[in-house]
Symmetry: C2
Subunit: 186 residues, 2 copies
Amino acid sequence: MDLFSFLNSVNITSPQAKEALEQITQVKSYSKNEIIQEIGSRCKTIYFVQEGRARIFYYKNGNDITEHFAFRNDLIVRAESLFTGKPTSKGIQAIEQTNIVGINSDSLFKLYDKHHDIERLFRLLFEREYVNTVKRIESLQFKSAKERYVELLETTNYVQKIPLKHIASYLGITQVSLSRIRADLQ
Amino acid sequence: MDLFSFLNSVNITSPQAKEALEQITQVKSYSKNEIIQEIGSRCKTIYFVQEGRARIFYYKNGNDITEHFAFRNDLIVRAESLFTGKPTSKGIQAIEQTNIVGINSDSLFKLYDKHHDIERLFRLLFEREYVNTVKRIESLQFKSAKERYVELLETTNYVQKIPLKHIASYLGITQVSLSRIRADLQ
DNA sequence: ATGATTATTTATCATTTGTTAAAGGAAATC
DNA sequence: GATTTCCTTTAACAAATGATAAATAATCAT
């Protein structure tokens, strides 16, 4: 389910809450490869991708690793920072020209006190993210690289045009390995 | 931080809320290897381990795979069912004699409407679980089996006495492989 | 369009992990 | 405490993936 269908289906935010939410919301455009959030920063913004593609990434032994992809209508946050207040060694980058909605988290968390329905809305949103993360573990824990790649292709329509190296590191393998797997699948 | 320090540090539940929570809470004892929640069931209970060790597990190609460990003071739920209402192919099992607190989730979710502070408490608890899950992905995605094993030993005091096969599958490797890694580490 | 840069494939060899089987240890049951 | 069952280690070989390098292919900037 995409974000907007979800918002409609939960349908719990009052007009006042919607108004308050809008006031802490910003839409921004990022060009291809532009950094949305720097590595080492604290996550103080909750993003929703309107159009385009973005990723969470970090460096391990000098290698650029994609931890997460976000496509149209996806939520994207660096949870390990947002929910702890600590800085994170991960960043967010636009993969291509991307329009993104940003909500300031400090302001949002303050709204939680006034608007129970906003707290509930975001609780439900993050519960969905949590479930997605659990499913990702299932995949990484005992599926082969080939299985993981096929699964990604099947569950995601947005993988086209994403550089192979990003897909490879997302799957936990090298790009050479992924290239081999693709050749194998022909 | 363990559960009880956390509960004290957030300190947001009113006496009425605590009273209401207690009424939907049950303490149970399970013997070694006893099934706490059957594979295929829906997750309708949120558990906290008081004493002992438990695990979430499932079968893949006939192999018993441990997806998650829970020790003293840990929360344990099958998120992919609790937050979707769907049945899950995972179960929960006591690894040894274990005392566990269970909270009925249907009742809990109803309490959310009456007691904002209960909803908040559990939102915060599950946010912490979500963060743990994200960290687990980092580990599975690009660390070697040996790194993952050393990390597990370093971050967890409760791994002793857990059968090697459970630890191995948790790390995403075979028990033979883990045995090799242990020999290597001597 | 052209040249420069970046992305992808292919090949070779090294390393890690899986598979199977067997043996040795530890623990539970009677 | 003997026996059975379960757990852990070791060994030998197979398969998957990593590392490095080189060759194509695609894209970008001027």
